[in-house]
Symmetry: C2
Subunit: 213 residues, 2 copies
DNA sequence: GCAGAAATAGTCCATATGCACTATATGAGG
DNA sequence: CCTCATATAGTGCATATGGACTATTTCTGC
């Protein structure tokens, strides 16, 4: 059974930016084999819509106010919807991509992709394949190889990046400053950096922590 | 002389993302009083186009590969084009906004703005007013009040964020570690942070330094 | 149950950091 | 010419940091 205008791929667009919704609708709407069902502004709205319309492919923005892209994917799974998901985002960190793929996204697209690239990705994902750009796939593999920080280490990393000393961190967490020092040392070792300052900046670069939290 | 469909506001869209170009064209094209001249993918293309078409208002993405938004504004000034400029971006640091306004942008819009907001901004800017959202204007004012780092301090801040010690920085710059320490202390004081680590992370947050340089 | 990972806590020690000073040289602007 | 900002260099000191260890507890996977 091949795709045709008679049996189009039903696409749901989920993005909080009006410009992006209009852009995708306008670009993809020119393709005969696609049918844009709805452009939803949020993950909540998407779950609502998908229940009624039964989309084949969901184009999903990762960063949205309220329910994030990853949360939306998980919500879809919980509700038993098995539409295929393509993540669509502008600026991405390795952590973002990783968690989205972990959650069950089948494709990954950058917003600067051309119409041709998007059509290709949507068709690939709809036919059951995965679609992840080569360079991003490489980074993903590297990310999975990398020794991960434990949740405790991540917690301490966040506090350290806000300028807290080991003693202060220990006080907040109710553990000794010595223990914090141990954690900081293993953070430095795992990230292969030379001190806590570089640990903070590389963590931001890799998306392990964000600048505003 | 009032605006009408007979004498429309001529708009040039400059953005490297096909989706955004399509979205803006589709959204603004519905307005009778606007005429979309071209959607150019880069600053270079924009300078070319503006020479031929004479746009009234330029919607300009700040972050583009090649010629940045700020460079495009400066290029326009040098060439003597006096179209009014609205900056349009997704994620912005205070430094970005500041330099764009310094360069001569009259308006500032986030990409998650609604059609209504965009129309308002374009009309305001075209009629000679400035259009900068209240919260962004506040941040801009705060930014201008803030004591600036000297070029030496900025230089040291960059190295410090890469994990270099004062002694190492001194060695690279050919000055004593004591002097570097003095600079680091004034950086910490000016940024109102508690140590070098927080200095690095706040600098990234404010856009004083970037994560990949 | 046992191995291994993770979190906890500690010691020792060399070095780095942050802070409070003083002091000199230089260049820009009134 | 004088002043101010900047960059330079230094001293002294309390504290923080990073590295190398040992050791106990708890939890998870096999």
């Amino acid at each position: 059974m091949s795709q045709s205008a008679v049996n189009p791929i039903r696409i749901l667009i989920v993005d909080d930016h009006p410009v992006v919704r209009a852009g995708l609708t306008s670009m993809l709407g020119t393709q005969l084999e696609f049918e844009i069902i709805t452009a939803a502004p949020s993950g909540e709205a998407a779950l609502d819509t998908i229940a009624r319309s039964g989309a084949d492919v969901v184009l999903l923005d990762l960063r949205m106010p309220g329910m994030s892209g990853v949360e939306t994917i998980l919500g879809m799974k919980r509700a038993g919807y098995n539409a295929r998901v393509i993540i669509l985002t502008s600026f991405e960190t390795d952590e973002d991509i990783y968690s989205a793929v972990q959650a069950g996204a089948q494709g990954y697209l950058l917003k600067d992709t051309s119409l041709k690239g998007m059509v290709e990705a949507i068709k690939a994902v709809h036919s059951g394949k995965r679609f992840i750009p080569r360079d991003i796939a490489a980074r993903l593999a590297e990310r999975m190889m990398r020794t991960n920080l434990t949740s405790r280490e991540l917690e301490i990393l966040k506090m350290l990046s806000k300028g807290l000393t080991n003693k202060q961190i220990g006080h907040v967490l109710g553990i000794s400053g010595n223990t914090v020092k141990n954690h900081v040392n293993s953070i430095i070792e795992k990230l292969e950096v030379s001190d806590r300052t570089e640990a903070a900046t590389t963590a931001i670069q890799r998306g392990l922590i964000s600048v505003d939290e």
